[in-house]
């Protein structure tokens, strides 16, 4: 499938999800080595009209692509790159379904311009995989049955990952406060909090990554 980077309609029309995903890594974006570190100088962009060239570091790979200044990181991840683990919920910074890590800290991708993500390390739920295995937080969500419909789960898992990076052994209250930016319409909160607790305990035993 030839990818048109300028398209703004939904991806995957007439294409199976797996087939669509399969094309992305090879064609749409180029992987290069030598990631810029956070805080490193980023190129100045002056008064662009239309599309702008940018480089985003996503899940440890650098991707060069053209974006419109108004495109959010969420839009670019899903609609331009086909990295669809990050979900669209409210699209107004309230529900947390689009949570990604930026330099290890949870952010709402729906409220982040793609151009503002330049020079930072972006991690999506796909980036939490340990090779072909689930990462420890993902695994803890499975073991605690911490979802029903699953739509909010990617955001919950990424938020939990960020919480545990900042606070490896949170109290129950700290877990509740740390997960406050993620809504679950199914109301699986009790299980979600248990999953975060389980992941924290697992890391305490040296089981985490």
């Amino acid at each position: 499938m030839a990818r048109d980077r300028n398209r703004t309609d939904k991806p995957g029309k007439g294409v199976t999800r797996r087939g669509f995903l399969g094309t992305v890594g090879a064609g749409a974006v180029a992987a290069v080595t030598g990631l810029p570190r956070p805080g490193e100088a980023v190129p100045e962009i002056t008064e662009p009209k239309g599309m702008v060239e940018t480089a985003l570091s996503i899940n440890g790979r650098m991707h060069r692509l053209l974006v419109e200044p108004r495109w959010t990181l969420l839009f670019v991840l899903r609609e331009q790159m086909g990295i669809t683990g990050t979900k669209i919920g409210c699209a107004r910074g309230e529900c947390g379904a689009c949570t990604v890590l930026m330099d290890g800290s949870p952010r709402y991708a729906c409220m982040t311009l793609a151009l503002e993500a330049q020079g930072h390390e972006i991690t999506t739920v796909e980036g939490l995989m340990d090779g072909e295995e689930l990462g420890d937080v993902q695994q803890a969500f499975v073991e605690e049955d911490a979802f029903q419909c699953g739509y909010c789960t990617a955001g919950q898992v990424v938020a939990a990952q960020g919480l545990l990076a900042a606070n490896p052994s949170p109290t129950v209250d700290e877990i509740r406060a740390g997960m406050a930016g993620n809504l679950c319409r199914c109301g699986a909160y009790v299980h979600i909090f248990r999953a975060v607790e389980r992941a924290a305990k697992g890391r305490g035993k040296g089981g985490g990554r």
């Binding site: 008064e47 910074g93 949870p106 409220m111 311009l113 503002e116 997960m179 930016g181």
Partner: protein, 326 residues
Amino acid sequence: MLPKFTYSRPGSLVQVANLAARPGTRVHAGGTDLLGCLRDGVFGAESLVSLSGLSDLRGVTPTSGGGLRIGALTTIAEIAANDAISDRYPALAQAAASVASPQLRNQGTIGGNLCQKPRCWYYRGDFHCLRKGGDTCYAFDGENQYHCILGGDGCYIVHPSDTAPALAALGARVTAVSAGGRRTIAVEKLHVPPSTDPQRETALEPGEILTEVILPPPPSGLRSSYRKIRERASWDFAVVGVALALVFDGHTVTTANIFLSGAAPVPWRARQAEEVLNGSNLDGATVERAAHAAVADAEPLAHNAYKVPLFAGLIKEQLTTLGGGT
């Protein structure tokens, strides 16, 4: 999808200020409020000028005078977690910790928090209200359970910031830089009441960039706190909130600074309560009088009279907490 705009990220403050002075340009700091306003069509923007290329505007550093300088791009999360702020200016740390959600605290900046737009649902919604250049406040006769009980004058918003009342109580100032130079503004004077101009929130002129917050050295005997009450236990804006900065000499309050959130279109200085407290001991009767003095002039709308006793109770609680052990 956001409306189209051009974007620039200059590496120098002068360039930012020059670009920001152009009509149709908006300044992007953390972006959490800006993108929401653009998406909802509260206002438009032909171009955005981003501050994120200005690394000098990040971080918390001591000033030569014994205070703290907080760069305008310092995130709310960084402020909430900063030891020097927690130790010396707890009201600010508590206010920062109570802002929005973890994700928004990681993204939102102190400069943006001070300059944010009101959350009034008529202002944010499809109403051409007074604040947006119309001739009516739809909240006045409408759904006004979250609107102001003090300081309303044609427009009845509440100022949404938690950090602004804390900074005002602590006597903080901000620096505003433009192509023409720089000036400092007390946080207390930064916000514009509707009686002065219902269509602006801050005293910043077009092209003026808020670059830093300067906290004065804490006076000996300072105790400060911020607490807000919201409709739910997880994140939300303040229904009512109070920032206290009291200077004690032994058991006596020598100087009281009290600013309310959720009360008025600007962070509201509770002068009558301060007058009750200045020179007094925080005994039960004084606390009671101060709490009621804070809302003595309240003029509730049809659906927000509940805020009056809620403020009185909150102020009483916080004064009692701060006075503990004196």
